[in-house]
């Protein structure tokens, strides 16, 4: 697709019911009140020269190119900083303005290198464009005057360079860092001609910069430029697609030159991100073409054998015959599949279809099991649907934000930027987290309350918050009466009013002082709009589901569901967790969250698929592992998940995998799980295929093929191959046809099609006859289940307790630059920021153990032991240690246990009793694992290069 031009309105477009009408260059122009003249003109096709203005940030008024004349006003005001007013008569092109603009450009060019032809931004440079637009022909100052010193280019950032000799000091980068990203890592130092963009540090890498790319995006010259552009040249084509990292689901323009991806530029019209990005989505795509990619199918009889490269057909045939053999030998229930939250909706739909229709059982599960399954359960029970209530944009109208068990600046950075913007505007923030995350206090952000609870006590905390609401008369009674199931409310209110839920009573459990908790509860309950955002710190607990219901109760009791600015909102971990769940990836339900026992639903699918379907729920992932060890489960098709690394209690998972007879892994790389696999099917990255992802706000966005699949087939085509080999050919020429089938079979997706997606950009489900353009906010007039249902949420302490042997509690999380188990990011220069997992330990605990910062320590639980380096930090409270789980060699899940959420079996990752001691060497497990890794990954190449 040729490179389409993205309109830059110069100043942000405003939303207002009031409009003003003015005349610009003789044309009547009507715009929302508050729109600057510059944007008013551009939105009507009138282009006024500009350099410091861009619609991603507020007007600044520094370049003085966008000057206009307004009848009846003196002088030549800047159109970017002058709001359009009713009756104004504006002239944008006069002889006087032309002379001024030329004069300004003459000054700019007098302080700029004249190397356009060899400049990496040649053809993509606004300064160059403007010199042309104003007709600059001569720089009468000559080139011998004072200029910006030509200091060495700052190339410290792995992805972009900073060349200050090309800087025009428009401050777009500085403003983007502040206004869009909210990091404030850039500034101008000095003043006058000495003014210089600076990180205030030695270089970009050592600065506060989080490499989100907003500055690069904002730069109108080659000052901040992607290294990939410098290397490959200006892109010539662009494809709009959706990021495959976190659940924010940012929209990107993947810009290419020939078959080469040159850069990823956040797409301004993408509704999830509105032109913003983070270091992962924008820059960390190099894994897609990493030499570690496996591009040929492989099989082996035993895991002790080396891999043998085979043709696709042979791989399909081998896998199919093994699955059929196992089913014949051990029964229909002995095989299953795992869909991937990394893959498209269409692909997950096909895998669950394959399990249900071809394997003939419901043994299909998804990695959402280990992250947000409690969200599905809890919100379904209370609201009636397994999804968050809001769109991201809604946060801009929240007055109080209750953030529980989520660390958005690291894990959902683009949403975090929206949240921070709102906080800077004055919204108040309550953070409930054992650890002092950045949002508790970071430049220009200060939480009103940090409820630093002990890991594992979420439900006691939410009950205490609710107790304050109920006992202090803060219930929104009109709302509850009108919108909720009154009997359930009354039962809940009686339950929660019990003194054992009072903050004073629960303080001993949670460690949160009663006064602080009461203040937080009042702040939340009395806000005009209060919104809850949460993450895996809520779900990955033995009471994950209870906690989700507890939050739903609190939101309903305070009337905070069903309009903009409020709600209960999960921040989904992976790009398509929501979608994978929507698509029927769970063993108990079909797409659209309909139970397998529902005859009517089954009938729909039986009709469509032409087979009889099982009516009993199948196995969840942890149950599969258990049943494998019990000898009942023997064959597994895993699409894009690495359970040997990502699931808890690694040694238990490996025991399960090792007990299976046919493990089929479909992935980009020979991951940890593949070490125990018999068939390897090369996967395709998101750049290599068509499809859709659904983000945390239920937004379905298109994934579009940017480059050809490295292995020849996209993931959905691989599933088709496997299905055909199993004797069930599925006929789809394109993923759009899969979506058509999903729409036919799923009421909440009935209105979704690729044509509609192309037309609207993206769609938030439900999308059907009742909501033809989708549903940004759910439960507006009534809850999906009718009346909102209050659930009783008794606090049950986890059985994972600290004691003499394991006196500390381990909790885990993500860091900005890395992603989950590192499959992708660890194969990119993002490792420059984080190349190993560190164990954060409080100075008190460290001192007791004689641990110094940077020491190697042994982290031991009843499940296993691993070693990593310690980082002494007061972000964690005494008694709590914390680490990330991004690097395979740290193997943190060797330490986590198989305890799980009572309702969904979502693992209790966030609470593990551990001991930490100094050590000199890797743990036994690490040594053994390292020793076996190469052995289990041997490949015997039989096919010549280029075949297959």
């Amino acid at each position: 697709m040729p490179l389409p031009k993205v309109i830059d309105y110069g100043t942000p477009l405003r939303e207002s019911a009031d409009t003003v009408t003015l005349t610009i260059d003789g044309r009547a122009v009507r715009v929302p009140k508050g729109t600057a003249i510059l944007a008013a003109a551009r939105s009507h096709g009138i282009e006024i020269p500009k350099l410091c203005a861009t619609d991603m940030v507020e007007a600044f008024g520094s370049c003085r190119l966008c000057l206009v004349e307004i009848e009846g006003r003196r002088g030549t005001p800047a159109s970017c900083t002058t709001p359009a007013e009713d009756g104004m008569v504006v002239h944008t092109q006069t002889a006087r303005l032309a002379a001024l603009r030329r004069g300004v450009m003459e000054l700019y060019i007098s302080d700029h290198p004249l190397d356009c032809l060899t400049c990496s931004a040649n053809g993509d440079c606004e300064l160059q464009d403007m010199a042309g637009a104003v007709g600059l022909r001569e720089v009468r100052y000559g080139q011998d005057g004072r200029k910006h010193r030509t200091e060495a280019k700052d190339e410290s950032n792995p992805y972009f360079t900073f060349d200050s000799s090309k800087c025009i000091v428009c401050s777009r980068c500085v403003r983007a860092c502040a206004e869009v990203q909210g990091t404030f890592a850039l500034t101008i130092t000095g003043r006058g001609l000495e003014s210089k963009v600076s990180t205030g540090s030695f270089d970009f890498l050592s600065s506060e910069c989080v490499s989100c790319g907003a500055c690069v995006q904002a730069c109108p010259t080659a000052t901040l430029n992607e290294k990939s552009v410098i290397e490959h040249g200006t892109p010539t084509g662009a494809t709009i697609t959706t990021c495959a990292y976190c659940g924010v689901g940012c929209s990107f323009r993947a810009e290419t030159q020939g078959g080469q991806l040159v850069r990823m530029v956040p797409y301004k019209r993408g509704q999830a991100n509105e032109g913003h990005s983070c270091v992962k989505g924008r820059f960390a795509y190099g894994y897609a073409t990493h030499p570690d990619r496996i591009t040929r199918p492989m099989i082996r009889a035993r895991i002790s054998d080396p891999w043998r490269e085979v043709s696709w057909d042979e791989a399909f045939a081998h896998a199919a015959s093994e699955f059929r053999r196992i089913q014949a030998q051990y029964g229909r229930e002995a095989v299953g599949g795992i869909t991937s939250s990394r893959c498209t909706n269409e692909e997950t739909f096909l895998v669950q279809k394959l399990v249900r229709a071809v394997f003939g059982n419901n043994n299909v599960d998804n990695c959402a099991r280990v992250c947000h399954s409690p969200t599905g359960y809890g919100l379904k029970q209370t609201f009636g649907t397994s999804a968050g209530t809001q769109d991201f944009k809604s946060v801009a109208q929240a007055d109080v934000i209750l953030l529980i068990g989520a660390n958005p600046t690291d894990a959902h950075p683009v949403f975090a930027s929206r949240m921070k913007r709102r906080l800077r505007e004055g919204a108040r923030l309550i953070v409930a987290d054992p650890r002092r995350i950045d949002l508790v206090r970071s430049p220009h952000i200060q939480a009103a309350h940090h409820l630093a609870l002990k890991p594992g006590t979420n439900v006691a905390l939410i009950n205490a918050l609710a107790h304050v609401v109920v006992s202090e008369g803060l219930v929104r009674e009109d709302y509850v009466r009108e919108r909720c199931d009154l009997a359930s409310f009354e039962a809940w209110a009686r339950f929660i009013a019990d003194p054992r839920h009072a903050p004073e009573a629960s303080a001993d459990i949670t460690g949160v002082p009663a006064g602080e908790l009461r203040a937080a509860a009042r702040l939340y309950a009395t806000a005009r709009n209060a919104a809850i955002y949460y993450g895996l710190g809520v779900t990955e607990h033995s009471q994950g589901s209870t906690m989700v219901m507890g939050m739903a109760n609190l939101a309903m009791a305070t009337g905070n569901v069903g309009r903009v600015g409020v709600g209960v909102n999960p921040l989904r971990g992976q790009n398509n967790v929501q979608g994978a769940c929507d698509m029927g990836s769970f063993p108990h339900e079909f797409s659209g969250y309909r139970h397998v026992s529902d005859d009517a639903t089954r009938e729909v699918f039986e009709q469509l698929w032409g087979v009889a379907l099982a009516r009993e729920p199948g196995l969840r992932i942890p149950n599969m592992v258990d049943e494998a060890q019990s000898g009942h489960f023997k064959g597994l098709y895993i699409q894009g998940e690495d359970i040997a690394q990502s699931d808890p209690d690694t040694q238990n998972v490996i025991a399960g995998l090792s007990a299976m007879e046919c493990v089929v892994v479909q992935d980009l790389f020979l991951n940890e799980t593949a070490k125990y696999a018999h068939v390897f099917l090369p996967g395709a990255s998101f750049l290599e295929k068509d499809g859709t992802f659904t983000n945390a706000e239920r937004r379905i966005s298109r994934v579009r093929k940017v480059i050809a699949p490295l292995a020849g087939l996209a993931d959905w085509e691989v599933t088709l191959g496997l299905a055909a080999a199993l004797g069930y050919p599925m006929q789809y020429a394109h993923p759009s046809e899969i979506m058509d089938e999903i729409a036919r079979a799923t009421p909440s997706f009935a209105g979704v099609s690729y044509a509609r997606l192309d037309e609207l950009g993206s769609i938030q489900w439900p999308c059907n006859a009742a909501a033809p353009t989708g549903t940004p906010i759910m439960h507006v007039e009534r809850f999906v289940r009718g009346k909102g249902r209050f659930m009783l949420t008794g606090y049950v302490p986890t059985e994972e307790r600290t004691g003499e042997r394991f006196p500390l509690l381990l909790t885990t999380g993500r860091i900005l630059s890395q992603y989950n188990v590192g499959t992708q990011t660890a194969r990119t220069p993002n490792t420059r920021w984080h190349d190993e997992d560190l164990l954060e330990i409080h100075p008190f605990d460290a001192e007791q153990r004689g641990i110094n910062d940077g020491d190697r320590v042994l982290l031991r639980s009843r499940a296993g032991a691993t070693s990593l380096r310690a980082q002494i930090s007061e972000r964690v409270q005494p008694g709590v240690v914390y680490t990330t789980f991004h690097h395979a060699r740290s193997g943190v899940n060797v330490v986590t246990t198989d305890y799980s959420d009572w309702a969904t079996n979502c693992p209790e990752y966030k609470v593990t009793a551990v001991q930490v001691t100094r050590t000199a060497a890797p743990s036994d497990w690490q040594r053994e694992n390292a020793a076996r890794a190469d052995f289990l990954r041997r490949i015997e190449r039989e096919l010549p290069e280029g075949a297959g």
Binding site: F495, Q543, R620, D626, H632, L792, T793, S900
Partner: protein, 66 residues
């Protein structure tokens, strides 16, 4: 599935639904029907028949309804 694991899962459900009081056994039974495979339910019943000492009374009661 290993009996102790099965028992722990069932007891977890019972503990979390205990707040329902008299309604707990029915809710437990519904949960098991909704989310457990027939084999897991069968093994739970076998566990009860074998004594079920480690199981919560509400689980035992719920199992009667399966």
């Amino acid at each position: 599935m290993k009996p102790d694991k099965l028992a722990r899962m069932a007891n977890d459900i019972a503990h979390n639904l205990a707040a329902l009081g008299d309604a707990a056994p029915a809710a437990i039974a519904e949960h098991l029907r909704h989310f457990w495979t027939p084999r897991m339910r069968k093994e739970l019943l076998q566990l009860i028949q074998a004594g079920g000492a480690s199981l919560e009374p509400t689980v035992v009661e719920a199992a009667r309804a399966l």
